[in-house]
Amino acid sequence: MRLQRQEPAERLVKYLEAIRLALGELLEHDPRVFLYGQDIAGTFGGAFKATKGLAERFPTRVLNAPISEDAITGIAIGAAQEGLVPIIEFQFADFASIAFNQLVNHAATMHWRTGQTCPMVARLPVGGTPGGGPFHSQMVEGWLTHHPGLVVVAPSTVADAYFLLKDAATCTDPVVFCEHKYLYYHLAADFDPRRAEHLPMGRAAIRRSGTDCTVVSWSGMVHEALKAAEVLAGEHEIECEVIDLRCLRPLDADTILESVARTGRLVVATESWPFGGVTAEILAVVASEAFQHLDAPPQRLAALDTPIPFHPALFAAHHPDAARIAALVLETVSF
């Protein structure tokens, strides 16, 4: 499904503002919702300002937490058992490793083990930016999607930042909401995200239709894939079909398989690490279920297999971009 922009906004709406807008509306309309995280309250409004202004409007439901990722997550789980809908914020997704146990062993297993639901949203600022270094740049979907019971979403557009967050807060399962730090301020919409056409959580979106090669991506890398598709169309007359997964677990395999059946070729692009993870899962699904449609080996492009470097030059070399996606598509198409 190709999504169209509509309803022009009076001013540009940034990705971060869409998140704040969704949080504000959730707090306003659902008394079960509360926000809990480090530095999110007061006038500060969080390390990236996603909650700025919300504590003033909802002083008893926007709460600062100590530096305790494990307890923040455990507290959300306990509050969810009481019928609340906690939305917790990690300052950086990298720090969610401290909460790994509560996320994968407690929240993720709750429904299957006990029959009780655990509705909560964990907001994780993901992704690399130059100078971020090894501990402020990571993608976490590789290890969080591995565990059954967690829903993992990664919006790439302003409208999805808004709608997927609202969908996450109404989901009865724990949702890991991966929001890309680079997109916070660098992606803006010239339309009102609240009135944008959108898909429900769980469905992938086709951001650009094409017949020559399927390019699957998510989060910030979708924009590199779209840039690559533009270049390939203009300079090589190669039409890529760009799929934005939006939701990584559960995975919308049908949309990928249907696209590969049309194009016969697949490139998966991510800024995550190469070993295991979502790219490996997609290639496994396509290789086993769409082998007969493939005209070339399915390929993936990931970050280099080291911790994420600090220096901008090293980071640029480590981080996939549109040029490398385009080169891999060319290689795949000419196979």
């Binding site: 307890a71 306990g78 407690h106 469905r203």
Partner: protein, 339 residues
């Protein structure tokens, strides 16, 4: 640190009710140990033998609307807070009728009887502390913690679990929020096989109470009256809004970590320092004329009948059928087609 005088004014009726839960827990635990030896359980058996006085003293003060996060040696406290023995056997036998339906077992059951909520324990020690704090924060946000007779949350932990990072983070958060949390610490001297001197370096675990903004109390965990008096004060203070409470009881686990463990690491010297709370309680109550031999025999007989009935019913019920499972970890089954 406050140590409650042993000579307390706990009503005899409460002491007898407490003894009843201790005996029922011991009978059920003994049966589970036998079933383990008979290879009749789906997994191991984890007993609360020697810890019943403290555990039952915690559970007995809880009431509808409260939260209890038991640990692995809290059969007595679970029963005192309303758990049906049938759920114990259903879960330990892995029956489909149990609240975990054979998907999880033994001490991991989370049982809700009406408004008496027991959180489903995960094995990662300390993790249930923040979960209990979160349940209380939820109650506060729902407006249920107003006044001077509020619901409380009780979390059980041991000397081993108190070393875990999650426990620290949860206790710190409870102190910050000044929630009505009661932390019941059973220092059973053994973190599996590791003695206290390799688990913590502070003089006494209760020293940590002040550091977290808790009121701390200690008691002899083999003395039922001391447990009742101390837990009673802690729960009452939490209900009055006096903030989080910590009780550290000294006792000894009189079993292996699980029934697969022969506890051969327990030295005679350590064993000699602690009595068994159950016969000690029986002797005290008998000496004080609170109960006689016939009364005691009746309690044991009733407990055996309850346990036997629960076991017989649970063992007659169906086991889980892999073919009937949907093998889906998600409650939102329609995610693929949207919510």
């Amino acid at each position: 640190m406050r140590t409650v005088p042993v000579a307390s004014t706990v009503p005899d009726e409460l002491r007898l009710a407490h003894l009843r839960w201790m005996i029922l827990a011991r009978v059920i635990d003994d049966r589970l140990a036998t079933l383990y030896k008979q290879n009749a359980l789906a997994g191991s058996a984890f007993l609360g033998r020697g810890q019943e006085a403290l555990s039952a003293a915690g559970g007995i003060y809880l009431r509808p609307g409260d939260i209890f996060a038991p640990m692995i040696r809290d059969q007595a406290g679970r029963l005192a807070f309303g758990e049906d023995p049938l759920d114990v056997f259903r879960t330990c036998l892995g029956r489909r009728t149990g609240n975990t339906r054979g998907r999880d077992g033994n001490v991991h059951r989370g049982v809700h009887v009406g408004d008496r909520r027991q959180l489903a324990f995960i094995s990662h020690l300390g993790a249930m502390v923040p979960a209990t704090v979160g349940a209380l924060l939820g109650k506060r946000l729902k407006g249920e913690l107003r006044g001077t007779d509020t619901p409380v949350g009780m979390v059980s932990i041991g000397d081993g679990g108190m070393a875990a990072g999650a426990a620290h983070e949860g206790l710190n958060a409870a102190g910050i929020e000044r929630l009505p949390l009661v932390v019941m610490v059973a220092n059973n001297q053994l973190s599996y096989s590791t003695y206290n001197d390799r688990s913590f370096a502070c003089r006494h675990l209760v020293d940590r109470a002040a550091a977290y903004g808790f009121t701390g109390r200690t008691c002899d965990g083999t003395d039922a009256d001391a447990c009742l008096a101390t837990m009673g004060l802690a729960v009452a203070a939490a209900r009055r809004g006096e903030g989080p409470q910590m009780v550290v009881a000294e006792l000894l686990r009189l079993a292996g970590h699980g029934e697969h463990d022969d506890a051969s690491y327990v030295t005679p010297e350590l064993r000699s320092r602690f009595g068994d709370c159950l016969p000690l309680t029986e002797r005290t109550l008998k000496n004080q004329g609170v109960i006689d031999e016939a009364g005691l025999a009746k309690l044991w007989d009733e407990a055996r009948q309850i346990s036997q009935r629960a076991y017989e019913q649970a063992s007659s019920e169906p086991e889980p059928d892999p073919a009937q499972e949907d093998w889906c970890a998600y409650s939102a089954r329609n995610l693929r087609s949207g919510l």
